[in-house]
Amino acid sequence: MGRNAMQPDNKLPVDKSALHVISLVSIGAHPTSGRPRRAEQDARAVELGLQIAGDNLHVLHAGSAEEPALRAYLGMGLKELHVLEQPKDADALPGLADYIRESGVQLVLAGTQAETGEGSGMLPYLLAEKLGWPLVVGMAEVESMNNGTAQVLQALPRGQRRRLKVRLPFLATVDNAAPKPRQSAFGPAQRGTLDVEQIEVVIDELFTAAELTPAKPRPKRLKVIKAKSGADRMKAATAKASGGGGQVLKGVTAQEGAAAILKLLVEEGVVR
């Protein structure tokens, strides 16, 4: 595998006309002001959906159709947005599951977690469990789709990628490794239509027992020194690089030294 292994040679591996994709969107909150906006990760899900399916992308929202921030998704170049109308404290899961099951799509994209409300990130998992579909967490790119399977890249921490083969249909969540969302234009946002559908409301019981409060800043963890004597405390405060512990290879040939280094690198799994 060379340096360009991330970019497949054929840039259009997916037949756009045959593929139907749903992106799930929610109302976000600005991290500082808290004002409603398009949610960052959901916008990435829409962007990825547009790149995969083009015009065959359906964007679905469960909640209030009145929210002006919802139109920011339409400003990304969508003609319409489907809304399953329900109040704020309703459970989005049953309505979404029914809609997706009837729609016959091959791929459902969602953000990792909501920016408002509980934000537990459980919705894609519960949806996958309910639909019986496989779930890919942190999808960064779809490489190819054929014969009922898809080859995708999953984003791992520390900028790593993993290639997965998953059978269709499947659910995928996207995080910040997915492509950056395009800008939202005001004109198309106002021209786009909202297709509102009334569904049965199931109230979520969470907030009967729990309450939301403004986030408390978390205390910084202090370095606790459990020294019994003053000498130990002094030692802990002035500790420099402590000797010992490490293996020192002295007077060995370069080959032996290199072999020892390579052995450690292979053991740690950084050289593959």
Binding site: R3, Q154, R158, E211, A215
Partner: protein, 406 residues
């Protein structure tokens, strides 16, 4: 015991000062006195002191005064063993085991589990696949369940959920704790929650008085709720176990784990251009300093190893590397798992920058430098020769692996 003889100036001063209330106590142990029959008695064992080489010395010059008390420096203490013979209940923890070892997040979780278990409960740690951890006992693991086997190799979240379900059936833990991290725990915990139909408390940063407090939404709000059965805590949710030692007894599953047909197939890691990974979060950093003379060879070695390049301040100041590659106090604080320092002597500012690194390898000419003291493996020698040999060794290793696969 410290082998350094230490003077106690205060005790010496008290011994000289006849008016001090402690003067008598500070006098040397009496070595000769008049017996009841007028015979001089001597205690020959009380004379003198043990010298630095372990030989008894008698100082007759009169300098030696006060009690010859041996004071001990820090001694490796054996922590008290916390034993749970018959656990009333279990608290299950599934650590991430990044790189096969307990991470600090995992240790925080074990600390929280220990708090939840109290005196009667046992902390049960479930580890998938092979591990390299040797300190489960001091991390607070009472029972250890290792699930090995070909089915748990690689990325297999669905099979792991099956394994956790088997544990759930057999041990019925009072609480399940999984780290809410990006390195696997957050995903596995949520999959498991969806599978057993429990509502987890996510991003929990405090568990106190039967209340779990976690961040909600985008982190602007807190959500306090009664402690749920499944908890996904963030890092620093509790203090790690530090005052007790635990048994870490191996337990086994009595039933076989259901094999789920994998719907997601792991095709392995993809080679990512290491130069594109931000240095602060790179896993493997190959760093050069003043001791590197052949920079073309250095770049070739980094490419051969597939490592992200770093540099010390000197190398950057001399123009061999760009400023954004500088590691240390005024550059980037790296968090690499493996850090290779070539020709870096280890100024304190540089050592601060690699404080979070797990394994440090040093290649240096000077066997006394500070980097060698920090490093887990040091090779003393000319860097150019070692780098050449390293390139060769990596290539032959990769070719050998290919031949084995074929």
């Amino acid at each position: 015991m410290s082998d350094i003889i230490r003077r106690d100036p205060r005790a010496e001063w008290i011994a000289r000062n006849r008016l001090h209330p402690l003067h008598a106590a500070m006098q040397p142990v009496q070595t000769s006195w008049m017996g009841p029959n007028g015979v001089m008695r001597k205690n020959v064992h009380g004379i003198g002191f043990i010298g630095p080489n372990g030989i008894k010395r008698i100082d007759r010059s009169g300098v030696q005064q006060g009690r010859t008390v041996k004071r001990s420096a820090s001694v490796e203490v054996q922590l008290p063993l916390h034993r749970v013979a018959a656990p009333a209940f279990y608290i299950a923890v599934v650590p991430d085991m990044v790189g096969g070892r307990l991470s600090s997040h995992d240790r925080d979780l074990l600390g929280l589990a220990h708090g939840l278990a109290g005196q009667d409960g046992a902390v049960l740690a479930i580890v998938f696949g092979e591990h390299k951890e040797t300190a489960f006992d001091t991390a607070g693991v009472d029972r250890l369940l290792v699930m090995e086997g070909i089915e748990f190799a690689g990325y297999c979240p669905e099979q792991r959920v099956q394994g956790l379900r088997a544990v759930d059936n057999q041990f019925d833990p009072r609480h399940w704790l999984l780290p809410d991290s990006r390195s696997g725990g957050g995903e596995l915990g949520r999959r498991f929650a969806a599978s057993i139909g429990e509502r987890p408390a996510t991003r929990v940063w405090q568990v106190k008085d039967e209340q779990a407090t976690g961040r909600a939404g985008a982190g602007l709000e807190d959500l306090a709720r009664p402690v749920s059965r499944l908890i996904l805590p963030t890092a620093e949710c509790a203090e790690p176990v530090s005052e007790t030692r635990h048994e870490a007894l191996l337990v086994e599953l009595s039933t076989a784990i259901a094999r789920s047909l994998p719907r997601i197939e792991d095709l392995g890691a993809v080679a990512v251009d290491p130069a594109l990974i931000p240095m602060a979060e790179a896993e493997f950093v190959f760093s050069g300093g003043n001791g590197v003379k052949d920079w073309a060879l250095f770049h070739r070695t980094a490419a051969a190893l597939g490592a992200t390049e770093g540099a010390s301040r000197v190398a950057v100041d001399d123009g061999f590397m760009t400023r954004d590659r500088q590691v240390g106090a005024s550059g980037t604080w790296v968090t690499a798992r493996v850090y290779v320092a070539v020709g870096i002597s280890g100024a304190i500012q540089h050592l601060q920058g690699i404080g979070a690194c797990d394994k440090v390898v040093a290649i240096n000419l000077d066997p006394t430098c500070d980097m060698i003291k920090r490093a887990d493996l040091s090779v003393i020698g000319e860097s150019a020769a070692i780098l050449d040999a390293l390139i060769e060794a990596v290539e032959s290793y990769r070719n050998g692996a290919k031949r084995d696969a074929a």
